[in-house]
Each structure stands twice: as C-alpha cells, then as structure tokens.
C-alpha cells in the first residue's frame, strides 16, 4: 500500500499545502532526510511510534525525528501475563528495527529541554533539534513523593511495574520467591490513571498463578477509588468464579477508599487512612501525571496541573502552539490505553497530513478504544467504545449503542486478546506480516 513519492505529490499536496509548508520552514540545525515540515516526536511508545509511522505513510515529505532512550519496546499490555507466568519478558519485548527504517532520524536519547519560542528540543546527549511541529508522547510520570517513605531505597524493594520493563521482571521474581500462604499487597491509584482495568486484571493474573503454584496465598487490593473503577461486573464475576471471591476463603480481599499514604519497607507495611497492611510482596502504584517532558514543555495545564488539555481535532496543546500531546499524557474523554494511544496517534497523523496538504480538517473524526482483560484462567472480556466529534458538545462522545462490555468472559475472547496484542504491536512498530511473535494467549 505504500505510495511512491510521485503518487503522494499528486494526491495530497495541493497548492495551499505549499504555502503552509513554506510558512513552517524555520532556520534549522542540520536536517537529514525529507525536506518537508520538521516533526520531532518524543517517545516511541504506543502513541509516538504509531504517529511517526503513519505520518511517514500519509505525508512522506514530512521530516520525522523520533527520540526514544529505550533500545527495545517493552509492552505494558500483556505484562500482567508475565506476572502470571504465562509469558516471559522476551515475549513482550519487541524491536524498533522496522520503525528505524521508516522515520528520517531515530535518536536513542532522552529529551531534557524544550524551548517552545525558538521551537527546539535538546537531549541529554547534547543534541538540539528544531521543529515545526513537536509531538510529546512520553507516557506518564510516577509521583513517588505522594507516598510517604517511597524513597529511592524503598523503590529497590517496592515495585510499581506500571511501566513494563525491569520492574515487571523484579515483581515476577518476588512473586516466585514468596512462600505459599504469603500475602501480596497491591494498590490501585485514583482515576484518572494509565489503564483503568489494568490493576484488576493484575489481581486476576497473580491469583491464577497463586491458584496453580501457591494456593494458600492471599491478595489484598488497596484501591484509592471508592469501588472497582472498570468492568466491575465482569471482574467480580471472574473473581467469584475462579478465586472464591465473596466466600470466607476468598483469595482476593478488595478494599475500596484505601489510597496508600505511606510505605515502610522494614516492616513490609502499607498504610492508608484506615488500615496498616503487611505483605510479603508489596506492589504500590503511586499517583501519576503526564510525562515529565510535558512539564518541561510547560503544557501540563489541566486537572491541577497534572495532565495536558488538547484540541481533539489536532491533539495540539491548548496552551502552547505547535506542541501536540498523544497517549496517556493527554486529558481527554478517552481511557488511558494502548489502543487509544495507537488510534489517536493516527488521528493526529491524519490531521497534520491534511494540514500539510493545505486541506480542511475532517469535520467529524472517529476513534475507538477496546481494552481486553485476561483472567489468567484461559478467558478474557472487553470494554469497547467508539468516539466521534460532536460539534455542539465540542467534544468526542460515543454515538448511540457504540459503547459496552462483554456479556461474559470467554475462551473466544482470550484468543481475540492474543490476536489484538500481536496486531497492535505490529501496527505500532511497523512489524512485517512474517514477524514471529512468541507471546501466548
């Protein structure tokens, strides 16, 4: 499907596009690759990688620089299956090789400074890049200082595992080392947070591992929210069916309105306003906000300065021009999911490619979310929503009946969940049809 350069020029570069492009041209530092508008993307996670790949497809003339410090992509989706022992870290780790061939410039570095007046970004390695459009897709920043005692020392023992990688591997090792009859204490942050169903899926996955390997063990869930914040009916049904929830020897003990306020590693204790809870393995996910790089750019304007408000048609920041925010960092009606980061990455690429071509924006864009959750017992279920731009509400909202959850958990959906993971990875990273995935559903 890749268009060649001539097709592209024919189909998408109108005369007005030239004016727009010329207007964007600033005085740049050395630029490698395409001569069109300079687009700098920070972060090659679900949002940034998808955006970069699709922009090069829909506006090949754009000069795309993608900056990402990690050598490989480690997927948060399916990382709970690693905790269950179903998959390994290798199964959820994927290469950037294809993406590197697609973008003009792939920079293995971290952005540390941004000048939104001069329109430049600077990296820890000391490189400066000029941009016409800057896309921030840095995910989330965890606020350890909101939990007393969660200092650098405590962070060696207490994992969040809310960014997949070494944290996930360590938490799995801790669960393996835990004796049968031990207690696993995990927390759920207050909404809005990355992946609303994720913590409850984590409880299922760890419970499935305990059920197989150490059946006398317990899981205590300390939830900052008053109640289960996502797919409640389906999670309660799964916990009841598989893990004795609601009975005297339930493996899962759910406690709402219990935001962790302090951790004490010597005592292996988590404290909330109501409880002091001891655990053999402690997994506290601290409160979170938009990625640090959004703070650096001065675009954390929403929700007490924690998240970034955007214009839905372009994902441009409402406070700083030519800075676009994708994925979890943005404050929107969408859940903070990989599916949404992937899909809104395309929506932003579409808006910018139309803008570069001098055309009008789509008056009624559509994006969707689907989050699958696995039970660890060979079944899964979903929540799915379509969002459309509503001119009167000036917002993205679900059309009638385009929102809902599975009727019940099923093995069919576990197979679809595995297929979804492979397809969203391939779509985000540009993996070829022949790519040999090893993750198992």
């Amino acid at each position: 499907m890749a268009l060649n350069r001539r097709d592209f020029l024919k189909t998408s570069f109108g005369a007005a596009g030239i004016a727009a492009t010329a207007g964007l041209a600033g005085c740049a530092t050395a630029q490698i690759g395409s001569s069109g508008p300079k687009v700098v993307v920070v972060g090659a996670g679900f949002g940034g990688a998808t955006f970069a790949r699709y922009l090069k497809m829909w506006a090949p003339n754009a000069n795309v620089t993608l900056i990402e410090p990690n050598a490989k992509f480690v997927s948060c989706p399916f990382s709970n299956t690693v905790l269950a022992g179903i998959n390994t870290m290798d199964d959820i780790t994927l290469p950037y090789d294809n993406l590197k061939k697609i973008v003009d410039n792939f920079v293995p570095d971290t952005v540390t400074a941004i000048d939104t007046t001069k329109q430049t970004v600077t990296t820890a390695g000391g490189h400066t890049f000029a941009y016409d459009k800057l896309v921030l897709a840095g995910g989330i920043e965890l606020m350890y200082d909101k939990v007393q005692g969660y200092d650098a020392e405590a962070q060696k023992t207490v994992m969040h595992a809310w960014k997949a990688g070494p944290q996930t591997a360590t938490l799995r090792k801790q669960l393996e080392a835990m004796p049968d009859g031990g207690t696993f204490v995990m927390s759920v942050p207050m909404a809005p947070y990355r992946c609303p169903p994720g913590p409850y899926e984590r409880a299922c996955m760890v419970a499935s591992y305990f059920k197989r390997a150490k059946p006398r063990s317990k899981i205590i869930i300390l939830d900052g929210n008053p109640d289960i914040a996502s797919k409640k009916g389906l999670f309660v049904a799964a916990w009841t069916k598989h893990f004795g929830y609601g009975t005297a020897d339930s493996m899962i003990d759910f406690r709402g309105n219990n935001q962790p306020r302090a951790v004490d590693v010597k005592m292996m204790m988590v404290s909330t306003e109501f409880d002091d809870v001891k655990g053999d393995v402690i997994n506290v996910v601290p409160p979170m906000r938009a990625a640090k790089v959004c703070g650096v750019a001065g675009v954390r304007d929403g929700s007490n300065g924690n998240w970034c408000t955007i214009d839905y048609r372009t994902f441009e920041s409402k406070v700083v021009k030519n800075v676009h925010i994708l994925g979890d960092s943005a404050l929107t009606n969408f859940p903070k999911s990989g599916s949404v980061a992937n899909n809104t990455g395309k929506m932003c690429a579409y808006a910018l490619s139309e803008q570069f071509a001098g055309r009008q924006f789509d008056p009624s864009p559509v994006v969707t979310n689907t989050c699958y959750s696995g039970t660890g017992m060979g079944t899964a279920f979903h929540v799915a929503t379509v969002f459309r731009w509503d001119e009167t509400k000036q917002s993205m909202v679900p059309p009638k009946d385009a929102n809902g959850v599975s009727a019940e958990e099923s093995e069919t959906e576990w197979a679809y969940m595995e297929s979804w993971a492979k397809n969203v990875w391939a779509d985000t990273l540009g993996l070829p049809q022949s790519y040999n995935f090893t993750a198992k559903g």
Partner: protein, 101 residues
Amino acid sequence: MKNNKITLACVGLVGLAVSGIAGAVDARARFMAANCSYCHGPDGKSHGAIPSLAGLEPGYFVKQMKAFQDGSRPATVMKKHANGYTDAEFEAMAKYFAAIK
C-alpha cells in the same frame, strides 16, 4: 534554503496540475480504515484469531457490518464498533479494504 525553494516550486506545479482530480486517495476512508488495524492488523492483515479484512469483497463487507449492527450476526466486539459508523462510511471502508492486495 535555496534547494528547498526549488523543491517546493516543483511540488506547487504538480499540485496545481492535479488539484482538479483531488480524491484519488480518499484520505478520510484511509484514516477510518486505520481505526480497525489495532485489532485487524496493519492494512487489515491480521495475526491470529481476529479475521483479516484485506481483500474482502465490498458487498460482503458492508453486509457483515450491517448484520453486526442489527445483531443478526452474533459478535463479541463488532456490534459496538459497527454502531459507531454510518452506512456511507461502511461503503467507503469496504472500497478501501477491497483494494488491498
């Protein structure tokens, strides 16, 4: 900068010459079809249990989408997704996917 200007001027000519036949690629259909690829795979070519969409016959495609909407074809997720689009959008996406080899 000089080089840039020359390139832009060339692009301008081509752009003017073909502006009358704009729409050779339906950018909106292409974007909407891309909404499906996080499940159905890039270009509608799927890995695993979710069916591929690439190359489906347009009549069949539209019929399935309508059947998901009215419930005559049972589905796990597709009823919700189908309910989010119009008949005209089904036609546009059908055309797009049918053209993928």
